[in-house]
């Protein structure tokens, strides 16, 4: 199954990326292969859109983490167990609706003649109609909303599994709340944090629905650029090359941030290391 539904299409994309577009009525030809499409892909067009996308996805992932962590902690630790199921259920409710419909919901909400604009004007927070649609801010808001649950779930699972006795022990040994959080809760929740970061960062970087619904010309994301090569420009070779680059850039980003994370952890551990040999005998 993995071979058929994953490896084969990806290999095709790779093969197509070596081809070219013969004329406006043909999407792809592969009679002579070259890396020219990759050179074309690295044009300023792709680079500027990719930089914008990376910015949106990094900010989005970090904000998702910052919002999801307190919520997941509260849900796993503070909320009485009998309410937990209900609250977790409410977090899942948006998933019962189609991704596109949820995003269109924001489109209606954020319109300059929409309800949010009206309320903010009535309350005097803004004097002119809300003008956030078709900007990068709207896309940022949309992706955070769309991917937040994917951050909450793994964090909740990680924090829920944490034995309360560990926190109590930490307190008993004299650590204050902050220190308990920093040295006990957070390190033990780390697998959940990493899972959440991956689950949000990877699909968010390739997302194109949110960008095409809320972003207009200003919030263009690289996923939309790839889609437009396939759908509108009919240049499958160039679209494939961009897709391959996107795959490798996402993998590269994951490896890079993974490496940074490991180094930071190693440095922290080194700083905290208790050298037994130094202890007086």
């Amino acid at each position: 199954m993995l071979v058929f539904f994953f490896a084969v299409p990806v290999l095709f994309i790779f093969y197509y990326s070596l081809g070219y577009k013969p004329d406006i009525f043909r999407t792809i030809a592969t009679d002579h292969l070259s890396f020219d499409r990759y050179v074309e892909s690295f044009s300023s067009t792709f680079r500027s859109v990719f930089t914008g996308t990376l910015q949106i996805s990094l900010i989005g992932t970090v904000l998702c983490l910052l919002i999801a962590f307190p919520f997941a902690y509260w849900l796993a630790v503070r909320v009485p167990p009998r309410w937990r199921g209900l609250l977790l259920g409410l977090t899942i409710v948006p998933f019962w609706t189609n991704f596109l419909v949820r995003t269109l919901g924001w489109l209606i909400l954020l319109q300059s003649k929409g309800p949010l604009s009206g309320i903010l004007q009535d309350l005097g927070f803004i004097s002119n109609p809300l003008n956030v649609l078709d900007t990068r801010a709207a896309v940022q808001l949309g992706v955070i909303y769309n991917y937040l649950p994917l951050m909450i779930f793994p964090l909740f699972v990680a924090l829920d599994r944490l034995d309360p006795a560990l926190r109590e022990a930490s307190k008993d040994l004299g650590a204050n709340r902050w220190r308990t959080f920093r040295q006990v809760t957070l390190p033990l929740a780390m697998p959940g944090v990493v899972a959440g970061l991956l689950l949000v960062f990877i699909p968010l970087t390739g997302d194109y629905i949110t960008a095409s619904v809320l972003g207009g010309a200003k919030g263009n994301m690289v996923g939309a650029l790839v889609a437009s090569q396939f759908n509108t420009a009919q240049n499958w070779a160039l679209g494939s090359a961009m897709a391959v680059i996107l795959i490798f850039m996402i993998l590269g980003a994951v490896v890079f941030f993974g490496a940074v994370g490991l180094i930071v952890r190693a440095v922290i551990r080194r700083g905290r290391r208790i050298d037994l040999a130094m202890e007086p005998a």
Binding site: K21, D23, I24, F25, R26, T27, S44, T45, F46, S48, V49, G52, Q111, S112, K113, P129, L133, D134, R136, G215, G216, A217, K218, G219, N220, L225, S228, Q229, F230, N231, T232, A233, Q234, N235
Partner: protein, 392 residues
Amino acid sequence: MADEFEGVKVLASRAAAQRMTRRNFLAGSAVAMFSGSVLLAACGNKTDTGGGPSASAGGAIEDQLNFYHWAEYDDPEVFKDFTKKFGAATKIDIYASNEEAIAKLVAAQGTSGYDIVVPTGVFIPQMVQNGLLDELNLDLIPNFENVEEIYRNQPWDPNNEHSVPKDWGSTGWLYDKTLVKSDIKTWGDFGDVAMGEASGATSVLDAPGDITAIYFWANGIDWATTEEKYLDQAEDYVVNKLAPHIKAYDSYPGIALTEGKYALSQAWNGDARQGLLSTDEPDRYVWGLGAPMTELWMDNWCIVKGAQHPNAAHAWINYILDPTVSLKDLAYHGYNTALTGVEDKAKAAGFEYLDMVFFSDEQVKTMDPGAVNEAQGRLVEIWNKAKAASGA
């Protein structure tokens, strides 16, 4: 009881498993196998006909008709009336530009499932050459005689073998005069306002040709040019100057503009008119036909190669060329439907904003249909670059 099921594993609830006998299990399996083979057979049929010839025209009208169409381009009532009269249910899928439609039809190689497509005239010769369109049987379209003489036998399809006119129109702009104080008279003014007063609140059409054309029309250059020099100039203007001020690439900005989304939009006349019809304060908005030069496009009813509902498709084309139906449709989309006497009928019916539907001879003289030629790839490239530059 439980012993009875030993050796047989069935995915069923416990209660259902208790009730499950050998007989109804077998019956169930038989149904499953049968439907499976029907599905397989259906797939088999699909490969047989797909890519090959379309079902032949001239028989009973099928129960279904699939459109690949521009958005908001026919009165929904007209579709309903058609279904009521002929029994064929209509399904519509939309595209934003000819390029997009051609992309999908080429990729599908006759298996798209669409019956009707509505390309702009200049795209038709190459669509025919590349086998994307079926020949029409004009015997099945007696209402073709309602089409005004001058709109028949267009250069892109001299004998109307593959297309009959749906309607024609032009390109101009619509703006909100409470936000744009200056008067827009030409495409040059359009560009200046887009980069000035209406910066960040301007939309342009989401079609490659129309974007570069803003530069060509403003500067008196033939917008079908293939000269490298002019294409370079257009690229510089569109990508480096205009694009950073563009809010959206939108082929249907009319209603969005009157809802406050844009201050200035490049728009097709009928779409701009739909915007004016949808608002309570039409006096706030100004329509202008592109000048000193602008587009003349004619969209045409065509039958897609591989169409599975050709009789319904011919019936539709004949139906929509009926003067009464055509007039009803015009009231909705606001484009000249190219039928004899349609202008007088529209006037008699008291339709609003007819100056946006019917153009004077002087206006028509400034219009140019352009061409699809070897510059096409370059235009798409410029359009991609412009989109990227708008987001930067």
